[in-house]
């Protein structure tokens, strides 16, 4: 067998190293299977009629592919007493995640910029305290946050949840942007100051256009965190204002009589798709952004 040339990798050619490589690939293949298994089971089950699930095995491929359970999960499955599927809750989540991601990313960018480029007395202490915020467990803030939301009249609403996620996310977004801006030359900001631009002028016209790598990283992180959050969702919303993660739990819990695994699986896939989409689309820019940041200046 002719060895295919791989550029830039020099390796000895003998039986021992070939055997080692075979073992390596076998182990890696096992890992791949292990990680893909839950997804396979979900997709396969979601596309099977209930009859087939009962008679077949967990891994057997569907004989008649059906989208009926998926449609049911989307718009007619019962979540508690409300039988409109996950659709209204997906909209709740979108209405929560978009403003929360935009707000926390913007505020994080301004924080990071102020902390690195307009160093003021106590900046290091303030950054330290914000960093501390990244280590506070969710559970700790539940009660004080509930009191705050109540006092603000936002208890049990989507805007209330937006506020919670924005505040909780600030520690992370500030950290990301601060670490990015620390590598941006101070000279650029000084040049802009001499050129006559002010705090926000420099931010919007000079610094922010340089930040796509940091923005992409932050948006992916925040979107995934907020979309997948369950604890804040169940603690701070009620019934109709639940995000999709909470609704999914309720949907799975509220099936009566026969357990409709295909509907449950479909609902789980629906709840997971947006984060997948963000990775597929933004992930490309994520990589590109990282390398662009690495070679710049």
């Amino acid at each position: 067998m002719r060895e295919r040339q791989v550029h830039g990798i020099v390796r000895p050619k003998n039986a021992a190293s070939t055997a080692l490589r075979l073992i390596l690939f076998a182990v890696l293949g096992l890992f791949v299977l292990y990680y893909l298994m839950p997804l396979i089971v979900m997709v396969v089950t979601a596309l099977k009629p209930l009859e087939e699930i009962r008679t077949g095995t967990l891994l057997s491929l569907p004989r008649d592919i059906t989208f009926e359970p998926t449609l049911r999960a989307w718009n007619s499955a019962c979540v508690g007493v409300r039988c409109e599927g996950l659709k209204p809750y997906v909209w709740n989540s979108i209405a929560m995640v978009i403003p929360a991601v935009v707000l926390s990313t913007m505020l994080g960018a301004i924080n990071g910029y102020a902390l690195t480029k307009w160093r003021f007395r106590g900046a290091a202490i303030i950054f330290g305290l914000m960093l501390f915020g990244a280590f506070i467990p969710f559970q700790v803030v539940l009660l004080p946050m509930a009191r705050t939301l109540g006092a603000m009249g936002l208890a049990g609403t989507v805007p209330g949840l937006v506020l919670v996620h924005t505040v909780y996310g600030l520690a992370f977004t500030t950290l990301f942007f601060r670490n990015f801006f620390i590598s941006v030359s101070d000279g650029i900001v000084q040049a802009a100051k001499v050129d006559g631009a002010g705090f926000f002028g420099i931010f919007f016209r000079i610094v922010l256009p340089m930040s796509p790598p940091a923005i992409v990283v932050t948006v992916i992180w925040q979107f995934t965190q907020i979309w997948n959050d369950f604890l804040f969702g169940i603690a701070f919303t009620v019934g109709d204002s639940n995000p999709v993660t909470v609704a999914l739990n309720n949907l799975v819990a509220s099936s009566t009589g026969v357990k409709e695994y295909n509907v449950d699986m479909s609902a789980a896939i629906i709840a997971a798709i947006p984060t997948l989409i963000v990775y597929v689309f933004a992930g490309k820019y994520f990589i590109r952004g990282l390398s662009a940041g690495a070679v710049k200046g």
């Binding site: 650029i188 000084q190 001499v194 006559g196």
Partner: protein, 375 residues
């Protein structure tokens, strides 16, 4: 156009005082170079003039105006930064015109200024490119263009050439000097490169540890350094400094002894009066490498003195050859004509032009001044 005056300027960062009371008068149209080793406070001093740092105490005047509390954008200055500090996401054109846009200069005036500057700097063909697509020299030109369109009273340069390769640095140095001759604006220029300082400045301020050691024209800095610091900092290779003892042996002599024997340099006539006060004490004798040559090569009419030493190292530089020898435990350098070189480890007959010699007090470091007193 404006002169610049600094009065008792001090700058502290926390407990650390980096500018320790500087007074400086820069005349209109002057090209002043701040030079000194890293950490001497020269960039900080420039940032105080630009307004990018705030004063701790003291006053700064640009023209008639006290600018202590004037923002950088209102000081009528333009600055060129060491790292160029171009806006990476903007085209060359937008980089140059950004300042005018923030100042709401009308479009026609902007385009006129851009056209003039880009022609002056030969960057017309680069206007649509991003800084990342430019070479180091081109970036440097764009950074200069950004300062020039401002048409300010004062130009501030912060080590603008230190990121360029040697050849380009010499070219840009000449170009900056030409620009200054043409525009006649006041310039403050920071560098750690003493050759850059010598070749550009109308006056050089040699800084050390937050103070100005000497502020004088380049020739004076080179020929009449006030102290050991200035003498050893300016000049490359730097001045040879020998510790000598003043003795009376058929006239005043400067004696230095090592394992190869004792050498007694004569005291330069003009310095004899000052040196007599140091009889039987020590002094530093400063000899620039170019004042030491092969025997018989000094210009006629100079007070010369010959001595012999072994050659340790030979370093050809092209126009000159450097001969390294040891005298009084000090590695000394002589700059000779390439034809006068000799192989390593041979004895060599050196000749010094004693008219160029300097003497320094070992305690204060101050240079001894010539007196008209005759012996």
């Amino acid at each position: 156009m404006s002169d610049i005056r600094l009065r008792k300027v001090r700058k502290r960062f926390g407990a650390n005082e980096v500018i320790k009371g500087i007074d400086l008068d820069i005349e209109e149209g002057e090209f002043v170079v701040l030079v000194g080793p890293s950490g001497c406070g020269k960039s900080t001093l420039l940032n105080l003039v630009s307004g990018l740092e705030t004063l701790s105490t003291g006053d700064i005047f640009i023209g008639k105006r006290k600018v202590n509390d004037v923002a950088p954008k209102d000081r009528d200055i333009a600055m060129v930064f060491q790292s160029y500090a171009l806006y990476p996401t903007k085209s060359v054109e937008d980089n140059i015109t950004f300042g005018m846009v923030t100042r709401h200069v009308p479009k026609e005036a902007r385009e006129k200024a851009l056209a003039e500057v880009s022609e002056l700097l030969h960057i017309e063909t680069l206007l649509t490119r991003k800084p990342g697509q430019l070479s180091g020299g081109q970036r440097q030109r764009v950074a200069m263009g950004r300062a020039l369109v401002r048409n300010p009273d004062v130009f501030l340069f912060d080590e603008p050439l230190s990121n360029l390769d040697a050849k380009l640095r010499v070219e840009m140095r000449t170009e900056i000097k030409k620009l200054h001759q043409r525009l006649g604006k006041t310039v403050i220029y920071v560098t750690h490169d003493q050759i850059e300082a010598m070749s550009l400045a109308s006056r050089i301020a040699v800084m050390d540890n937050g103070t100005i050691r000497q502020f004088a024209p380049p020739e004076a800095i080179y020929e009449e350094p006030v102290d050991l610091f200035v003498a050893s900092f300016i000049g490359s290779p730097s001045m040879n400094l020998f510790k000598v003892r003043v003795v009376e042996k058929s006239g005043l002599r400067l004696e230095v002894t090592d394992e190869e024997g004792t050498i007694q340099f004569p005291v330069p006539v003009a310095l004899a009066g000052s040196a007599r006060a140091y009889l039987d004490r020590e002094l530093y004798l400063g000899l620039r490498p170019e004042t030491i040559g092969r025997e018989g090569t000094q210009r006629p009419g100079r007070a010369t003195f010959g001595f012999e030493r072994m050659i340790d190292v030979v370093e050809p530089t092209g126009p000159d050859t450097l001969l390294v020898f040891t005298l009084g435990g000090i590695e000394a350098i002589a700059r000779v004509h390439p034809e006068d070189k000799a192989p390593v480890d041979t004895r060599y007959r050196f000749e010094v032009n004693m008219d160029g010699a300097k003497l320094f007090d070992p305690e204060t470091g101050k240079r001894l001044h010539p007196t008209v007193l005759k012996i």
